[in-house]
Subunit: 302 residues, 2 copies
């Protein structure tokens, strides 16, 4: 089924204990699309300046990403972010943010996108995310991401969004902040009660926890020792998850578990290179192989 | 097969955001034995003062724990520990430690224990742990636990121990400290290279990671929202793990995965009450039921 993502496209400068990269292709919608593109065609809505490079457009197109929804602002500059990871890579510090053309991003869906079945609202102001909802006709499944900034500054709109979507992915600290819970399992259940039928709490190297009416399932991350740069891990996790769901055309607990497994596997690849390097070179065969290993490892003899 | 544990027996005073308990039965060997007792008979070696209560002895005996190796020091006082957990229960502060009779604990195995097949050396000075190794004849599997204190203060003896045992369980911070690695997967592999064929890194609410020559397997914790008191979770995890292995009589990757699953399940019960309360009341049926749920949750449709 058709898959739409709306979110940031950026140029990132990243420093980790393993090295650094300048002005690399990045942004939530980009990581999402490269990951989802392994499973299905992706319609991407975002905005860039005219400094965006032809090579990046070419890369996204070659990965099956439909760019009819990518707005290019003449004379504008693309969103830029730079950040630095700690020694253990469990925390990162933002060094600079230049929102540029993303600051006044008002996503407008091309007419052909309004019938999208699966929709992912990548991290953005909840008001912006709500405005996309108005433009899609009868989606099968809308999921969103969010961040601590909006939990603090746009809580009412975020709660309205939660009442209108099918699923939310957010990280553990955000789930605790949103609910005021001290325990992550309690927090996930509390978010279910806010509206979405599916809640995915991301825990980075510790995996993810899925909450649905069927119950609570904790799944581990794919164990990798080769963590070069975690940037985009969460967005590529979401991309593989939505790509897998969209390919299957179903959103029950069983399919969500499969989708989270694919998300964990693709995120582990993402971390193995700087920026989108590893993700852009990633083939469906190696994803499938690691996915099979992941499933095998979780088979427990009774 | 026969299972032996050597370790601390204590009286604990614990404060958590959910309440507090004074002078409750505790200690690594106690949590271990109560958990392992669900699977098999346990031989426990430890030391207490004559202040130890008859009710505690009775409880342990009723759970299938053989106390022929429990030394009672006349006129001595039992090891006492008190501690307090943070609001989110992810960290704890030791308020007081009185080693008492445990300070000069020199474990002596009753003659009938020297043929034990499975042996667990609960956290103690590595020299004390090594002295137990000298007393067992031809064990099938010896596993040990350790803590940051020994990594810093008795590194050489700890490395000697690692060269002579089959497995080690330790927590994530300890694994990083022991190896100097920044990544947990790298750390587990580095510990394998120190000697033990099996390494289990415990991550608390995030589960555990198993390292063997067959590969690396990350398994989640059993998700529970009812965390009242995490004291003894790690020791009861180890108890269920060794109890399960001992019952199976095998220590390959498949059996270790099953054992870790049982460990995760029993640890989740332990956290649901203060001290040993929930563990002492735990039946094999409810363990089996939660174990089946755990295995089902990890079955992923391909």
């Amino acid at each position: 089924m058709s898959l739409l993502v709306v979110g940031s496209v950026a140029r990132d400068s990243i420093r980790t204990p393993h090295g650094e990269v300048q002005d690399a292709l990045g942004g939530a919608a980009v990581y999402f699309s490269l990951a989802a593109g392994i499973f299905t065609e992706v319609r991407m809505v975002g905005v860039v300046g005219d400094d965006f490079e032809a090579g990046d457009i070419e890369l996204l197109r070659s990965k099956g990403v439909d760019l009819a929804g990518l707005e290019v602002v003449e004379g504008g500059a693309t969103f830029r972010w730079s950040g630095e990871y700690s020694e253990d890579m469990n925390s990162r510090r933002t060094l600079s943010v230049e929102l540029n053309v993303f600051e006044h991003f008002r996503p407008v869906l091309p007419g052909g996108y309004r019938d999208s079945s699966f929709v992912f609202l990548a991290n953005a102001a909840p008001g912006t995310q709500l405005s996309v909802l108005e433009q899609v006709e009868e989606p099968v499944c809308v999921m969103a991401d969010t961040m601590d900034l909006w939990i603090g500054s746009a809580r009412d709109e975020l709660l309205e969004l939660l009442g209108r979507i099918d699923g939310i992915s957010l990280n553990d600290a955000e789930a605790l902040e949103l609910t005021g819970c001290r325990n992550l399992i309690d927090a996930g259940c509390a978010i279910l009660a806010m509206g979405p039928a599916n809640v995915v709490v991301k825990k980075g190297e510790h995996g993810a926890v899925l909450f649905t009416e069927a119950g609570v399932v904790a799944l581990p991350a794919y164990p990798t020792g080769k963590v070069i740069d975690p940037t985009g891990a969460g967005d590529s996790f979401a991309g593989a998850l939505m790509g897998s769901l969209s390919q299957a055309g179903a959103v029950d607990e069983e399919h969500l578990k499969t989708a989270i497994a694919y998300g964990s596997v693709v995120a582990s690849f993402t971390c193995e290179g700087f920026g989108t390097d590893r993700l852009a070179a990633l083939g469906a065969d190696e994803v499938r192989e690691r996915f099979m290993n992941y499933c095998d490892a979780l088979q427990i003899r009774r």
